[in-house]
């Protein structure tokens, strides 16, 4: 029983990180039709910046979180404004461009931070564990779940209950009409993009608590995000959350039960979903 609960908590906390990472990609992709495969690289950069602020400079962890997110957000925004904007509707070109940026960002990170991976790091307030069901469970994992939940609710509120969210949804459904109604859709697009990239950066720092930081993350994290998208469906918060939870839990139980094959379990789930329900469990519109 204790094993199940621990694994479940592990799965949910890891799933939260996946959600934070994927939601930005899902929104820019599913909502705005813009492909940004450099998303995983943004996760990595956020984590590196966070590490620099929190560990190398020894500053406040929450400041690190913020700065890492902003760094990622700004880079993402720069890529969009400088490059992706000119490739409107050219999906293949966007794919290629952002792959090029994975190479660029990864190599720049190598240049700045060197090739040694960074160990997982946690806020001092969050280190330590608390007792649960006779065992001990890390505080930072619980807070990850907490932060994740807060952000889920915040995002949902943003999408459903605010004018901003309405504009985004309208812009997705009928771009010309929205612009015709006098809405500054471009500004909103930048904001959504920044937000998605920002979330990726934050996810990177929170993820660093479990994963550390290394240079392979550009591709590795992207792959995870894509699996989550395939499983959960694109363009919706519910889809990203569902996919993230499914993959996170499967991963956690897999690692606990048969560690060498945990990876394969995720691939298997993805393949099954593809063969049975290619659009994912909860894509936009469902």
């Amino acid at each position: 029983m204790e094993f199940v609960v621990i694994s479940l908590l592990n799965g949910i906390s890891f799933g939260m990180i996946l959600f934070l990472l994927t939601i930005g990609l899902s929104l820019t992709l599913g909502l705005m039709g813009i492909v940004n495969l450099a998303h995983g690289a943004l996760f990595m950069v956020g984590a590196y910046v966070g590490w620099t602020v929190a560990i190398q400079l020894g500053l406040n962890y929450w400041l690190a979180l913020l700065l890492g997110g902003i760094a990622a957000g700004l880079i993402g925004l720069a890529v969009e404004r400088g490059f992706l904007r000119h490739l409107y509707m050219l999906t293949n070109e966007q794919v290629m461009l952002t792959i090029g940026f994975i190479y660029i960002l990864t190599n720049l990170s190598l240049w700045v931070w060197g090739g040694l991976p960074r160990a997982p790091f946690v806020a001092s307030a969050l280190s330590g564990s608390f007792p649960i069901l006779g065992g001990e469970y890390p505080v930072h994992r619980m807070t990850t779940i907490g932060i994740g939940l807060i952000l889920v609710i915040a995002l949902w509120w943003l999408q459903e209950k605010t004018r901003f969210g309405a504009i985004v949804r309208a812009g997705m459904d009928d771009k010309e009409m929205t612009i015709g109604l006098g809405v500054n859709l471009e500004r909103v697009t930048y904001l959504v993009f920044f937000l998605g990239a920002f979330m990726a950066g934050i996810a990177g720092i929170i993820g660093a608590q479990m994963l550390g930081v290394n240079l392979d993350m550009g591709w590795d994290i992207l792959l995870l995000a894509l699996i989550v998208l395939v499983v959960g469906g694109m363009g919706s918060i519910q889809g990203a959350l569902l996919g993230a939870m499914v993959i996170g839990t499967i991963n956690a139980f897999g690692i606990a039960l048969f560690p060498e094959f945990a990876m394969f379990l995720m691939y298997l789930v993805m393949i099954v979903i593809l063969l049975v329900k290619p659009t994912g469990l909860m894509p936009r519109g469902v």
Binding site: G100, F101, I102, I104, N107, V230, M263, L274
Partner: protein, 337 residues
Amino acid sequence: MGVTKLKPVGQPWHGQLIRFAPYIVIGAILIILPLFLSPYVQGVLLTKILIFAIFAMSLDLILGYTGLFSLGHAAFFGVGGYTTGILITRFGVDTFWLTAPLSILMATLFAAVFGFIALRVSGLYFLMVTFALGQLLFAVAWQWFRMTGGAFGLKGIPPPNLGIPWLTFNDTSLYYFVLLIFIICYFLLYRIVNSPFGYALRGIREDEPRMRALGYNIWLYKYIAFIIAGLFAGIGGVLFAHWNMLISPRHLGVVTSSLGLFYVIIGGAGTLFGPVIGSAVVIGIEYGASLYTPERGPLILGTLFVIVVMFLRGGISPHLANLWRKVVKYSYGSVKD
């Protein structure tokens, strides 16, 4: 990409020669070049370029001609290489006439399975799936230490054993062997892309609903193209294993697959020769970087790629082709091209 024009049968012979002149010239250069270069350069550079040119051309078949964006094509390259490596180092089968066909067969089988799964979806999803499938294979190679040597891979793969007693391979002879296979592959792929099947692929790339209305079974074409591409990638993998003498998981994974994309796009997709040029350019840059700024190679490549995508749509080779046409026009007055 690029305009195709069918020349009516019965053109004067010197017209035909003009068309083939570039091939003859380049072929001659490729054959004579080793005399001027050190074996080291041949071995390191030229042979590598040719091997990856085969890989790139195979990717171009599905990417440039059919419009399928795959991020997992190295899987078949790797399967070809690993099968050769496993047969030789784990099972002691060392005759090329057995290991090569078996390796190519394996690559083709994997392409048949992966293609079936991946073609359930299209567009970006297709990209994601091919990516994931490639990484799946990467993970298998990484974990299965007994068979694949795990993270270290398989070492000590000897040059091909053709069963010819007086033939032992050195850098130069291996180069010529690879060149021969490259020429055969190029010839075959050239026939394929200019066949009715190849034209159908181009149509599919341009306008799928139109092709369906014309009676084409789109899925079947894509599937067959995918399998053929896997086959040729496997050939590249076999040569790679013999040349590199080592095969490791990263030759199956996304890094190699994305490099393949670089070769094709920088060189020019949909032009069969473009990927060859792309391979030369990229590998040349990697080599140059290793001499002067060893750490910054990927940065340079990534930047070049971004530049090509943003400003040089269609890659380098259409510009070269235009240049060639201008040269020809200049020397022959106007040749109806």
